[in-house]
Amino acid sequence: MNNALFKTVISRSEMISCALCKDAPCTKACGKMDPAGILRSIWFENEKGAAARLPESMPCTLCAAPCEKSCVRAGEVPVKKLMERLYGEVKPVLDMDAPEHEDRLKTELCGIPMENPFLLSSSVVASTYDMCDRAFEAGWGGVSFKTICSFDIHEASPRYAALSGDNGNIIGFKNIEQLSDHSVAENMEIFRRLKEKHPTKFILASIMGQNEEEWEELARLCGENGADAVELNFSCPNMMEDGLGSDIGQVPELVERFTRAAKRGTKIPVLAKLTPNVAVMSPAAEAAKRGGADGIAAINTIKSLIGVNPHTYVTAPAVHGRSAVGGYSGKAVKPIALRFIAEMGQNPAIKGLHISAMGGIESWMDALEFILLGANSLQVTTAVMQYGYRIIDDLKAGLNYYLAEKGFKSVQDAVGLALDSVSDSTDVIERDTVIFPKFLREMCIGCGRCEISCADGGHQAIRLNEERQPLFDGKKCVGCHLCVLVCPQKAIISGGKRFTKVH
Protein backbone atom coordinates (compact mmCIF):
# COMPACT_ATOMS: atom_id res chain seq x y z
CA MET A 1 0.00 0.00 0.00
CA ASN A 2 2.80 2.41 0.81
CA ASN A 3 5.06 1.02 -1.89
CA ALA A 4 5.05 4.29 -3.80
CA LEU A 5 6.79 5.99 -0.90
CA PHE A 6 9.76 3.69 -0.94
CA LYS A 7 10.22 2.69 -4.54
CA THR A 8 9.56 4.08 -7.97
CA VAL A 9 6.11 3.27 -9.34
CA ILE A 10 6.48 4.50 -12.92
CA SER A 11 9.74 3.60 -14.61
CA ARG A 12 11.38 5.51 -17.43
CA SER A 13 10.74 2.54 -19.70
CA GLU A 14 6.99 3.22 -19.53
CA MET A 15 7.49 6.59 -21.22
CA ILE A 16 10.51 5.63 -23.25
CA SER A 17 9.03 7.03 -26.48
CA CYS A 18 8.76 10.52 -24.97
CA ALA A 19 11.24 12.75 -26.80
CA LEU A 20 11.35 15.32 -23.95
CA CYS A 21 10.54 18.01 -26.51
CA LYS A 22 11.37 21.67 -26.43
CA ASP A 23 8.11 23.70 -26.05
CA ALA A 24 6.33 20.37 -25.92
CA PRO A 25 3.11 20.09 -27.94
CA CYS A 26 1.48 17.94 -25.22
CA THR A 27 1.58 20.79 -22.73
CA LYS A 28 0.37 23.27 -25.35
CA ALA A 29 -2.56 20.97 -26.19
CA CYS A 30 -3.46 20.35 -22.55
CA GLY A 31 -4.06 23.78 -21.09
CA LYS A 32 -4.97 22.32 -17.67
CA MET A 33 -1.55 21.22 -16.47
CA ASP A 34 2.01 20.70 -17.69
CA PRO A 35 2.24 17.08 -18.86
CA ALA A 36 5.66 17.67 -20.47
CA GLY A 37 7.13 18.88 -17.18
CA ILE A 38 5.54 15.99 -15.31
CA LEU A 39 6.92 13.47 -17.83
CA ARG A 40 10.36 15.03 -17.54
CA SER A 41 10.19 14.59 -13.76
CA ILE A 42 9.33 10.91 -14.18
CA TRP A 43 12.24 10.53 -16.62
CA PHE A 44 14.62 12.02 -14.04
CA GLU A 45 13.37 9.89 -11.12
CA ASN A 46 11.43 12.74 -9.49
CA GLU A 47 8.07 10.99 -9.59
CA LYS A 48 7.09 12.14 -6.10
CA GLY A 49 7.92 15.74 -6.87
CA ALA A 50 5.77 15.40 -9.98
CA ALA A 51 2.84 13.95 -8.05
CA ALA A 52 3.16 16.59 -5.36
CA ARG A 53 2.73 19.45 -7.83
CA LEU A 54 -0.22 18.01 -9.76
CA PRO A 55 -3.39 20.12 -9.71
CA GLU A 56 -5.65 19.11 -6.79
CA SER A 57 -8.28 17.37 -8.90
CA MET A 58 -7.39 15.35 -11.98
CA PRO A 59 -8.31 17.12 -15.21
CA CYS A 60 -7.81 13.93 -17.26
CA THR A 61 -10.95 11.94 -16.40
CA LEU A 62 -13.27 13.11 -19.16
CA CYS A 63 -10.55 14.43 -21.41
CA ALA A 64 -10.04 13.10 -24.94
CA ALA A 65 -6.27 13.38 -24.42
CA PRO A 66 -5.25 15.92 -27.09
CA CYS A 67 -1.82 15.66 -25.42
CA GLU A 68 -1.33 12.21 -26.94
CA LYS A 69 -2.55 13.22 -30.39
CA SER A 70 -0.39 16.34 -30.53
CA CYS A 71 2.70 14.40 -29.46
CA VAL A 72 5.58 14.43 -31.96
CA ARG A 73 5.29 10.66 -31.73
CA ALA A 74 1.49 10.73 -31.77
CA GLY A 75 -0.02 7.90 -29.81
CA GLU A 76 3.27 6.41 -28.68
CA VAL A 77 3.42 7.99 -25.22
CA PRO A 78 0.58 6.99 -22.85
CA VAL A 79 0.41 10.48 -21.33
CA LYS A 80 -3.12 10.16 -19.94
CA LYS A 81 -2.52 6.75 -18.39
CA LEU A 82 0.69 7.98 -16.73
CA MET A 83 -1.07 11.05 -15.29
CA GLU A 84 -3.87 8.79 -14.00
CA ARG A 85 -1.32 6.52 -12.36
CA LEU A 86 0.38 9.45 -10.67
CA TYR A 87 -3.02 10.56 -9.35
CA GLY A 88 -4.07 7.05 -8.41
CA GLU A 89 -0.91 5.39 -7.11
CA VAL A 90 1.55 8.08 -6.07
CA LYS A 91 -0.24 11.27 -5.01
CA PRO A 92 -2.57 9.62 -2.43
CA VAL A 93 0.25 7.98 -0.44
CA LEU A 94 2.65 10.93 -0.33
CA ASP A 95 3.77 11.79 3.19
CA MET A 96 4.00 15.48 2.42
CA ASP A 97 3.34 18.23 -0.11
CA ALA A 98 6.11 19.74 -2.18
CA PRO A 99 8.44 21.58 0.25
CA GLU A 100 7.83 25.32 0.39
CA HIS A 101 11.47 26.34 0.20
CA GLU A 102 14.85 25.02 -0.92
CA ASP A 103 16.86 26.13 2.10
CA ARG A 104 17.94 22.53 2.71
CA LEU A 105 19.96 22.68 -0.50
CA LYS A 106 22.03 25.65 0.64
CA THR A 107 25.61 24.65 1.20
CA GLU A 108 29.12 25.99 0.96
CA LEU A 109 32.27 25.38 -1.01
CA CYS A 110 35.34 25.97 1.16
CA GLY A 111 33.37 28.44 3.28
CA ILE A 112 31.79 30.33 0.37
CA PRO A 113 27.98 30.03 0.31
CA MET A 114 26.22 28.24 -2.52
CA GLU A 115 22.47 28.34 -3.25
CA ASN A 116 22.55 24.64 -4.03
CA PRO A 117 25.28 22.05 -4.52
CA PHE A 118 24.91 21.79 -8.30
CA LEU A 119 27.53 23.21 -10.67
CA LEU A 120 28.09 22.81 -14.35
CA SER A 121 31.42 21.08 -14.80
CA SER A 122 34.24 22.53 -16.83
CA SER A 123 33.36 21.91 -20.48
CA VAL A 124 31.49 23.39 -23.41
CA VAL A 125 28.32 23.72 -21.27
CA ALA A 126 30.07 26.45 -19.25
CA SER A 127 32.16 28.15 -21.89
CA THR A 128 30.58 31.52 -22.71
CA TYR A 129 28.93 34.41 -20.88
CA ASP A 130 25.57 33.74 -22.48
CA MET A 131 25.58 30.03 -21.61
CA CYS A 132 26.53 30.58 -17.96
CA ASP A 133 23.99 33.40 -17.69
CA ARG A 134 21.22 31.09 -18.94
CA ALA A 135 22.37 28.26 -16.65
CA PHE A 136 22.22 30.59 -13.64
CA GLU A 137 18.75 31.79 -14.64
CA ALA A 138 17.71 28.14 -14.92
CA GLY A 139 18.77 27.56 -11.30
CA TRP A 140 22.30 26.15 -11.30
CA GLY A 141 24.22 27.08 -8.14
CA GLY A 142 27.47 27.64 -9.96
CA VAL A 143 29.72 26.82 -12.88
CA SER A 144 33.16 25.41 -13.27
CA PHE A 145 34.10 27.48 -16.28
CA LYS A 146 35.76 25.78 -19.25
CA THR A 147 39.48 25.39 -18.64
CA ILE A 148 41.45 28.57 -19.20
CA CYS A 149 44.95 28.25 -20.61
CA SER A 150 47.39 30.03 -22.83
CA PHE A 151 47.68 27.18 -25.32
CA ASP A 152 46.66 27.66 -28.91
CA ILE A 153 43.33 25.80 -29.17
CA HIS A 154 42.02 24.39 -32.46
CA GLU A 155 39.19 21.94 -32.23
CA ALA A 156 38.48 18.94 -34.48
CA SER A 157 35.24 18.05 -36.25
CA PRO A 158 33.48 15.88 -35.33
CA ARG A 159 34.72 15.64 -31.75
CA TYR A 160 32.25 13.36 -29.94
CA ALA A 161 31.14 9.74 -30.07
CA ALA A 162 28.65 7.85 -27.94
CA LEU A 163 27.68 4.46 -26.62
CA SER A 164 23.92 4.35 -26.90
CA GLY A 165 21.24 2.42 -25.05
CA ASP A 166 18.61 0.40 -26.89
CA ASN A 167 16.27 3.40 -27.16
CA GLY A 168 18.97 5.61 -28.66
CA ASN A 169 19.80 7.56 -25.52
CA ILE A 170 23.40 8.29 -24.74
CA ILE A 171 24.80 6.10 -21.96
CA GLY A 172 28.51 6.71 -22.44
CA PHE A 173 30.08 9.71 -24.12
CA LYS A 174 33.54 10.22 -25.54
CA ASN A 175 35.09 13.56 -26.45
CA ILE A 176 38.35 14.66 -28.01
CA GLU A 177 37.70 18.32 -27.26
CA GLN A 178 40.43 20.53 -25.87
CA LEU A 179 40.24 23.63 -23.67
CA SER A 180 38.68 27.09 -23.81
CA ASP A 181 39.39 28.77 -27.11
CA HIS A 182 38.90 32.25 -25.67
CA SER A 183 41.95 34.24 -24.70
CA VAL A 184 42.72 34.60 -21.01
CA ALA A 185 41.68 38.27 -21.18
CA GLU A 186 38.35 37.39 -22.79
CA ASN A 187 37.64 34.83 -20.09
CA MET A 188 38.47 37.28 -17.31
CA GLU A 189 35.98 39.75 -18.75
CA ILE A 190 33.32 37.00 -18.77
CA PHE A 191 33.98 36.34 -15.07
CA ARG A 192 33.60 40.01 -14.19
CA ARG A 193 30.33 40.34 -16.09
CA LEU A 194 28.91 37.10 -14.67
CA LYS A 195 29.78 38.06 -11.12
CA GLU A 196 28.24 41.47 -11.59
CA LYS A 197 24.94 40.06 -12.80
CA HIS A 198 24.89 36.98 -10.55
CA PRO A 199 26.73 37.86 -7.32
CA THR A 200 25.27 34.87 -5.41
CA LYS A 201 26.29 32.27 -7.99
CA PHE A 202 29.53 30.37 -7.63
CA ILE A 203 32.25 30.78 -10.25
CA LEU A 204 34.87 28.09 -10.16
CA ALA A 205 37.65 28.91 -12.60
CA SER A 206 39.23 25.87 -14.20
CA ILE A 207 42.80 26.54 -15.25
CA MET A 208 45.71 24.66 -16.82
CA GLY A 209 49.28 25.91 -16.98
CA GLN A 210 52.40 24.66 -18.72
CA ASN A 211 54.82 25.50 -15.91
CA GLU A 212 54.80 26.85 -12.36
CA GLU A 213 54.75 30.47 -13.49
CA GLU A 214 51.67 29.90 -15.62
CA TRP A 215 49.73 28.06 -12.89
CA GLU A 216 50.52 30.88 -10.47
CA GLU A 217 49.66 33.64 -12.92
CA LEU A 218 46.36 32.10 -14.08
CA ALA A 219 45.28 31.52 -10.46
CA ARG A 220 46.11 35.13 -9.62
CA LEU A 221 44.18 36.52 -12.61
CA CYS A 222 41.08 34.42 -11.80
CA GLY A 223 41.10 35.59 -8.18
CA GLU A 224 41.38 39.21 -9.28
CA ASN A 225 38.56 38.99 -11.80
CA GLY A 226 35.67 37.62 -9.77
CA ALA A 227 36.22 33.87 -9.52
CA ASP A 228 35.18 32.40 -6.16
CA ALA A 229 37.63 29.52 -6.36
CA VAL A 230 40.08 27.93 -8.76
CA GLU A 231 40.02 24.36 -10.08
CA LEU A 232 43.32 22.96 -11.33
CA ASN A 233 42.84 20.76 -14.38
CA PHE A 234 45.56 18.14 -13.95
CA SER A 235 44.50 16.00 -16.88
CA CYS A 236 46.92 17.65 -19.25
CA PRO A 237 49.88 15.83 -20.77
CA ASN A 238 53.03 15.97 -18.73
CA MET A 239 55.56 18.05 -20.62
CA MET A 240 58.29 17.80 -18.00
CA GLU A 241 61.60 16.14 -18.82
CA ASP A 242 61.14 12.61 -17.54
CA GLY A 243 57.37 12.18 -17.50
CA LEU A 244 56.61 11.67 -21.16
CA GLY A 245 53.41 9.80 -21.87
CA SER A 246 51.74 10.43 -18.53
CA ASP A 247 49.37 13.16 -17.36
CA ILE A 248 50.26 15.58 -14.60
CA GLY A 249 47.52 14.10 -12.42
CA GLN A 250 49.31 10.75 -12.53
CA VAL A 251 52.48 12.17 -11.00
CA PRO A 252 51.93 13.22 -7.36
CA GLU A 253 55.12 15.32 -7.24
CA LEU A 254 53.85 17.51 -10.08
CA VAL A 255 50.38 17.75 -8.54
CA GLU A 256 51.95 19.04 -5.35
CA ARG A 257 54.29 21.44 -7.10
CA PHE A 258 51.64 23.01 -9.36
CA THR A 259 49.07 23.19 -6.56
CA ARG A 260 51.61 25.08 -4.49
CA ALA A 261 52.26 27.39 -7.44
CA ALA A 262 48.53 28.15 -7.85
CA LYS A 263 48.18 28.75 -4.11
CA ARG A 264 51.04 31.23 -4.30
CA GLY A 265 49.09 33.18 -6.88
CA THR A 266 45.82 33.62 -5.02
CA LYS A 267 44.02 33.69 -1.68
CA ILE A 268 40.78 32.16 -3.01
CA PRO A 269 40.23 28.42 -2.45
CA VAL A 270 41.94 26.00 -4.80
CA LEU A 271 40.52 22.61 -5.84
CA ALA A 272 42.69 19.99 -7.53
CA LYS A 273 40.79 18.18 -10.27
CA LEU A 274 42.12 14.64 -10.37
CA THR A 275 42.28 12.04 -13.08
CA PRO A 276 40.68 8.59 -12.74
CA ASN A 277 43.35 7.14 -15.02
CA VAL A 278 45.25 5.77 -12.03
CA ALA A 279 44.96 2.65 -9.87
CA VAL A 280 44.21 4.69 -6.77
CA MET A 281 43.59 8.41 -6.43
CA SER A 282 44.89 8.96 -2.90
CA PRO A 283 48.55 9.65 -3.73
CA ALA A 284 47.54 12.54 -6.01
CA ALA A 285 44.92 13.79 -3.53
CA GLU A 286 47.40 13.74 -0.65
CA ALA A 287 49.97 15.49 -2.83
CA ALA A 288 47.42 18.20 -3.62
CA LYS A 289 46.80 18.64 0.08
CA ARG A 290 50.52 18.96 0.75
CA GLY A 291 50.59 21.62 -1.96
CA GLY A 292 47.90 23.52 -0.08
CA ALA A 293 44.72 22.50 -1.94
CA ASP A 294 41.44 23.32 -0.20
CA GLY A 295 39.51 20.63 -2.01
CA ILE A 296 39.41 17.84 -4.58
CA ALA A 297 37.32 17.64 -7.74
CA ALA A 298 36.87 14.23 -9.35
CA ILE A 299 36.56 12.46 -11.60
CA ASN A 300 37.91 13.86 -14.80
CA THR A 301 37.09 11.79 -17.90
CA ILE A 302 38.35 8.25 -18.40
CA LYS A 303 40.73 7.50 -21.27
CA SER A 304 38.81 5.54 -23.87
CA LEU A 305 38.30 4.36 -27.40
CA ILE A 306 34.89 3.81 -28.90
CA GLY A 307 33.43 2.40 -32.12
CA VAL A 308 36.02 0.93 -34.48
CA ASN A 309 34.65 1.28 -38.03
CA PRO A 310 34.67 -2.21 -39.64
CA HIS A 311 35.51 -0.79 -43.06
CA THR A 312 37.95 2.04 -42.41
CA TYR A 313 39.29 0.48 -39.18
CA VAL A 314 39.22 3.99 -37.64
CA THR A 315 37.73 4.60 -34.19
CA ALA A 316 35.14 7.28 -33.51
CA PRO A 317 35.05 10.21 -33.86
CA ALA A 318 37.04 9.88 -37.08
CA VAL A 319 38.76 12.94 -38.49
CA HIS A 320 40.28 12.41 -41.94
CA GLY A 321 41.03 8.77 -41.25
CA ARG A 322 42.49 9.42 -37.81
CA SER A 323 41.17 9.45 -34.26
CA ALA A 324 42.62 9.53 -30.76
CA VAL A 325 42.20 8.29 -27.24
CA GLY A 326 39.65 10.58 -25.61
CA GLY A 327 37.77 11.22 -22.40
CA TYR A 328 34.81 9.01 -21.49
CA SER A 329 31.93 10.38 -19.42
CA GLY A 330 28.18 9.99 -18.86
CA LYS A 331 26.02 7.57 -16.90
CA ALA A 332 28.26 4.63 -17.81
CA VAL A 333 31.16 6.01 -15.77
CA LYS A 334 29.15 6.62 -12.59
CA PRO A 335 30.15 3.40 -10.78
CA ILE A 336 33.82 4.19 -11.39
CA ALA A 337 33.36 7.76 -10.21
CA LEU A 338 31.51 6.61 -7.08
CA ARG A 339 34.38 4.31 -6.20
CA PHE A 340 36.93 7.14 -6.43
CA ILE A 341 34.73 9.51 -4.41
CA ALA A 342 34.38 6.85 -1.71
CA GLU A 343 38.16 6.43 -1.71
CA MET A 344 38.51 10.19 -1.16
CA GLY A 345 35.75 10.21 1.45
CA GLN A 346 37.36 7.41 3.42
CA ASN A 347 40.91 8.72 3.32
CA PRO A 348 41.71 10.25 6.75
CA ALA A 349 44.78 12.01 5.30
CA ILE A 350 42.59 14.40 3.27
CA LYS A 351 39.79 14.77 5.81
CA GLY A 352 38.36 18.28 5.78
CA LEU A 353 39.06 18.90 2.09
CA HIS A 354 35.99 19.82 0.05
CA ILE A 355 35.00 17.07 -2.39
CA SER A 356 33.35 18.24 -5.60
CA ALA A 357 32.12 15.11 -7.32
CA MET A 358 31.20 14.32 -10.90
CA GLY A 359 30.88 11.43 -13.29
CA GLY A 360 27.53 10.43 -14.78
CA ILE A 361 25.14 12.54 -12.73
CA GLU A 362 21.78 12.86 -14.49
CA SER A 363 19.19 12.66 -11.74
CA TRP A 364 18.93 13.72 -8.09
CA MET A 365 19.37 10.08 -7.12
CA ASP A 366 22.72 9.96 -8.88
CA ALA A 367 23.64 13.14 -7.01
CA LEU A 368 22.50 11.66 -3.70
CA GLU A 369 24.71 8.61 -4.21
CA PHE A 370 27.75 10.86 -4.50
CA ILE A 371 26.68 12.90 -1.46
CA LEU A 372 26.24 9.77 0.65
CA LEU A 373 29.76 8.70 -0.35
CA GLY A 374 31.28 11.99 0.76
CA ALA A 375 30.67 14.61 -1.93
CA ASN A 376 30.05 18.18 -0.78
CA SER A 377 29.17 19.60 -4.19
CA LEU A 378 28.24 18.08 -7.54
CA GLN A 379 29.18 18.83 -11.13
CA VAL A 380 27.41 17.89 -14.35
CA THR A 381 28.21 18.11 -18.05
CA THR A 382 27.22 15.12 -20.14
CA ALA A 383 23.57 15.06 -19.01
CA VAL A 384 23.34 18.80 -19.75
CA MET A 385 24.76 18.24 -23.23
CA GLN A 386 22.06 15.64 -23.80
CA TYR A 387 19.07 17.23 -22.06
CA GLY A 388 19.87 20.89 -21.43
CA TYR A 389 20.21 23.19 -18.43
CA ARG A 390 16.57 22.40 -17.55
CA ILE A 391 17.60 19.17 -15.77
CA ILE A 392 18.42 21.39 -12.78
CA ASP A 393 14.65 21.56 -12.07
CA ASP A 394 14.41 17.91 -11.11
CA LEU A 395 17.90 17.71 -9.63
CA LYS A 396 16.92 20.37 -7.10
CA ALA A 397 13.28 19.43 -6.56
CA GLY A 398 13.99 15.71 -6.26
CA LEU A 399 16.85 16.13 -3.80
CA ASN A 400 14.93 18.71 -1.80
CA TYR A 401 11.88 16.44 -1.55
CA TYR A 402 14.03 13.51 -0.42
CA LEU A 403 15.85 15.55 2.22
CA ALA A 404 12.57 16.93 3.60
CA GLU A 405 10.96 13.51 3.63
CA LYS A 406 13.94 11.94 5.39
CA GLY A 407 13.97 14.69 8.00
CA PHE A 408 17.34 16.16 7.02
CA LYS A 409 17.62 19.87 7.78
CA SER A 410 20.51 20.36 5.37
CA VAL A 411 22.07 18.53 2.46
CA GLN A 412 25.30 18.72 4.46
CA ASP A 413 23.84 16.32 7.04
CA ALA A 414 23.73 13.56 4.40
CA VAL A 415 27.37 13.83 3.35
CA GLY A 416 29.31 10.61 3.80
CA LEU A 417 26.56 8.54 5.43
CA ALA A 418 27.24 5.57 3.14
CA LEU A 419 30.99 5.43 3.73
CA ASP A 420 30.91 3.04 6.69
CA SER A 421 29.27 0.34 4.55
CA VAL A 422 31.93 0.43 1.84
CA SER A 423 34.79 -2.01 2.09
CA ASP A 424 37.83 -2.04 -0.11
CA SER A 425 37.84 -5.80 -0.34
CA THR A 426 35.11 -8.43 -0.38
CA ASP A 427 36.74 -10.27 2.54
CA VAL A 428 34.53 -8.67 5.16
CA ILE A 429 31.31 -9.86 3.55
CA GLU A 430 29.35 -12.52 5.44
CA ARG A 431 29.23 -15.72 3.37
CA ASP A 432 27.36 -18.26 5.46
CA THR A 433 23.82 -17.47 4.38
CA VAL A 434 21.81 -17.16 1.17
CA ILE A 435 18.73 -15.22 0.10
CA PHE A 436 16.67 -17.08 -2.48
CA PRO A 437 14.85 -15.32 -5.33
CA LYS A 438 11.08 -14.99 -5.19
CA PHE A 439 9.00 -15.44 -8.35
CA LEU A 440 5.99 -13.16 -8.81
CA ARG A 441 3.75 -15.53 -10.76
CA GLU A 442 1.19 -12.88 -11.71
CA MET A 443 3.84 -10.84 -13.51
CA CYS A 444 5.73 -13.71 -15.16
CA ILE A 445 5.15 -14.08 -18.93
CA GLY A 446 6.99 -17.39 -19.20
CA CYS A 447 9.80 -16.22 -21.46
CA GLY A 448 12.35 -18.47 -19.80
CA ARG A 449 15.18 -15.95 -19.75
CA CYS A 450 15.73 -16.84 -16.08
CA GLU A 451 16.23 -20.48 -17.01
CA ILE A 452 18.69 -19.60 -19.78
CA SER A 453 20.76 -17.31 -17.54
CA CYS A 454 20.68 -19.68 -14.58
CA ALA A 455 21.64 -22.62 -16.82
CA ASP A 456 24.50 -20.90 -18.63
CA GLY A 457 25.55 -18.22 -16.16
CA GLY A 458 24.47 -19.62 -12.85
CA HIS A 459 23.87 -22.95 -11.13
CA GLN A 460 21.07 -24.64 -13.08
CA ALA A 461 18.44 -24.02 -10.40
CA ILE A 462 15.55 -22.83 -12.64
CA ARG A 463 13.54 -24.87 -15.16
CA LEU A 464 10.36 -23.94 -17.04
CA ASN A 465 7.52 -26.44 -16.70
CA GLU A 466 5.08 -27.29 -19.48
CA GLU A 467 2.93 -24.27 -18.62
CA ARG A 468 6.08 -22.15 -19.05
CA GLN A 469 6.22 -21.38 -15.35
CA PRO A 470 9.64 -21.30 -13.69
CA LEU A 471 10.27 -24.14 -11.24
CA PHE A 472 12.88 -23.39 -8.65
CA ASP A 473 15.35 -25.84 -7.09
CA GLY A 474 16.46 -24.54 -3.69
CA LYS A 475 19.11 -27.26 -3.42
CA LYS A 476 20.99 -25.92 -6.44
CA CYS A 477 20.36 -22.18 -6.01
CA VAL A 478 23.29 -20.29 -4.50
CA GLY A 479 21.32 -17.04 -4.16
CA CYS A 480 23.40 -15.05 -6.67
CA HIS A 481 20.30 -13.13 -7.92
CA LEU A 482 21.38 -13.13 -11.57
CA CYS A 483 17.76 -14.07 -12.42
CA VAL A 484 16.51 -10.99 -10.52
CA LEU A 485 18.66 -8.76 -12.72
CA VAL A 486 17.94 -10.57 -15.99
CA CYS A 487 14.13 -10.94 -15.84
CA PRO A 488 12.68 -8.56 -18.50
CA GLN A 489 9.40 -8.41 -16.55
CA LYS A 490 10.96 -7.58 -13.17
CA ALA A 491 8.93 -10.56 -11.99
CA ILE A 492 11.73 -11.99 -9.85
CA ILE A 493 12.61 -10.23 -6.62
CA SER A 494 14.72 -10.96 -3.57
CA GLY A 495 13.03 -13.35 -1.19
CA GLY A 496 14.16 -11.16 1.68
CA LYS A 497 14.85 -13.91 4.19
CA ARG A 498 18.32 -15.33 4.78
CA PHE A 499 18.93 -19.05 5.20
CA THR A 500 22.06 -20.61 6.59
CA LYS A 501 23.90 -22.55 3.89
CA VAL A 502 23.84 -26.35 4.09
CA HIS A 503 27.28 -27.67 3.29
Binding site: M1, N2, L5, F6, D95, K406, G407, D420, S494, G496
Partner: protein, 99 residues
Protein backbone atom coordinates in the same frame (compact mmCIF):
# COMPACT_ATOMS: atom_id res chain seq x y z
CA UNK B 1 -0.24 9.52 16.25
CA UNK B 2 2.58 7.71 17.93
CA UNK B 3 2.78 6.40 21.45
CA UNK B 4 6.24 5.76 22.81
CA UNK B 5 6.57 3.58 25.89
CA UNK B 6 9.98 3.13 27.37
CA UNK B 7 11.19 0.52 29.82
CA UNK B 8 14.67 0.35 31.29
CA UNK B 9 16.21 -2.86 32.54
CA UNK B 10 19.68 -1.95 33.69
CA UNK B 11 21.64 -1.08 30.57
CA UNK B 12 18.96 -2.47 28.28
CA UNK B 13 16.22 -0.13 27.04
CA UNK B 14 13.03 -1.32 25.40
CA UNK B 15 10.89 0.97 23.25
CA UNK B 16 7.31 0.01 22.52
CA UNK B 17 5.98 2.00 19.56
CA UNK B 18 2.28 2.22 18.82
CA UNK B 19 0.58 3.98 15.91
CA UNK B 20 2.29 5.72 13.01
CA UNK B 21 5.93 6.75 12.97
CA UNK B 22 5.43 9.53 10.43
CA UNK B 23 7.68 12.47 9.54
CA UNK B 24 6.86 14.60 12.56
CA UNK B 25 6.84 11.73 15.03
CA UNK B 26 10.25 10.65 13.78
CA UNK B 27 11.64 13.84 15.28
CA UNK B 28 9.96 13.11 18.61
CA UNK B 29 11.51 9.64 18.62
CA UNK B 30 14.89 11.05 17.65
CA UNK B 31 14.85 13.37 20.65
CA UNK B 32 13.62 10.61 22.92
CA UNK B 33 16.43 8.30 21.77
CA UNK B 34 19.29 10.77 22.08
CA UNK B 35 20.26 9.97 25.64
CA UNK B 36 19.71 6.23 25.41
CA UNK B 37 21.97 5.93 22.36
CA UNK B 38 24.75 7.29 24.56
CA UNK B 39 24.07 5.42 27.76
CA UNK B 40 22.25 2.19 26.88
CA UNK B 41 24.09 -1.00 26.05
CA UNK B 42 21.33 -2.64 24.11
CA UNK B 43 18.13 -1.38 22.47
CA UNK B 44 14.97 -3.35 21.86
CA UNK B 45 12.14 -2.08 19.66
CA UNK B 46 8.81 -3.76 20.15
CA UNK B 47 6.78 -2.79 17.07
CA UNK B 48 3.67 -4.90 17.82
CA UNK B 49 1.31 -1.96 17.38
CA UNK B 50 3.23 0.09 14.84
CA UNK B 51 1.35 0.22 11.55
CA UNK B 52 3.44 2.68 9.55
CA UNK B 53 7.01 3.87 9.40
CA UNK B 54 8.03 6.83 7.21
CA UNK B 55 11.25 7.50 5.38
CA UNK B 56 12.27 9.80 8.24
CA UNK B 57 11.43 7.02 10.70
CA UNK B 58 13.71 4.65 8.81
CA UNK B 59 16.51 7.19 9.08
CA UNK B 60 16.15 7.26 12.88
CA UNK B 61 16.06 3.44 13.04
CA UNK B 62 19.22 3.20 10.93
CA UNK B 63 20.97 5.80 13.03
CA UNK B 64 20.04 3.95 16.22
CA UNK B 65 21.13 0.63 14.71
CA UNK B 66 24.52 1.99 13.70
CA UNK B 67 24.98 3.68 17.08
CA UNK B 68 24.37 0.39 18.89
CA UNK B 69 26.51 -1.76 16.58
CA UNK B 70 29.66 -1.26 18.63
CA UNK B 71 27.76 -2.09 21.81
CA UNK B 72 25.13 -4.69 22.65
CA UNK B 73 23.20 -4.15 19.44
CA UNK B 74 19.64 -3.30 18.54
CA UNK B 75 16.84 -5.82 18.19
CA UNK B 76 13.44 -5.40 16.52
CA UNK B 77 10.51 -7.51 17.69
CA UNK B 78 6.90 -8.20 16.75
CA UNK B 79 6.90 -6.43 13.40
CA UNK B 80 3.42 -5.97 11.89
CA UNK B 81 2.86 -7.03 8.25
CA UNK B 82 2.48 -3.37 7.25
CA UNK B 83 5.86 -2.40 8.64
CA UNK B 84 7.48 -5.65 7.51
CA UNK B 85 6.46 -4.77 3.95
CA UNK B 86 8.25 -1.42 4.26
CA UNK B 87 11.32 -3.11 5.76
CA UNK B 88 11.29 -5.55 2.81
CA UNK B 89 10.98 -2.92 0.06
CA UNK B 90 13.74 -0.80 1.55
CA UNK B 91 16.04 -3.78 2.27
CA UNK B 92 15.99 -2.94 5.98
CA UNK B 93 14.98 -6.57 6.54
CA UNK B 94 18.47 -7.65 5.60
CA UNK B 95 20.13 -4.96 7.68
CA UNK B 96 18.30 -4.83 11.03
CA UNK B 97 18.20 -7.63 13.57
CA UNK B 98 14.56 -8.57 13.33
CA UNK B 99 13.44 -11.37 15.65
Amino acid sequence: MLNIEKEKNGNEVQYRLEGRLDMNQAMTLENELKEDLETADKLIFDLKDLIYISSAGLRIMLFAHKSMMQKGGMVIRNVTPEVQQIFDITCFSDLLNIE
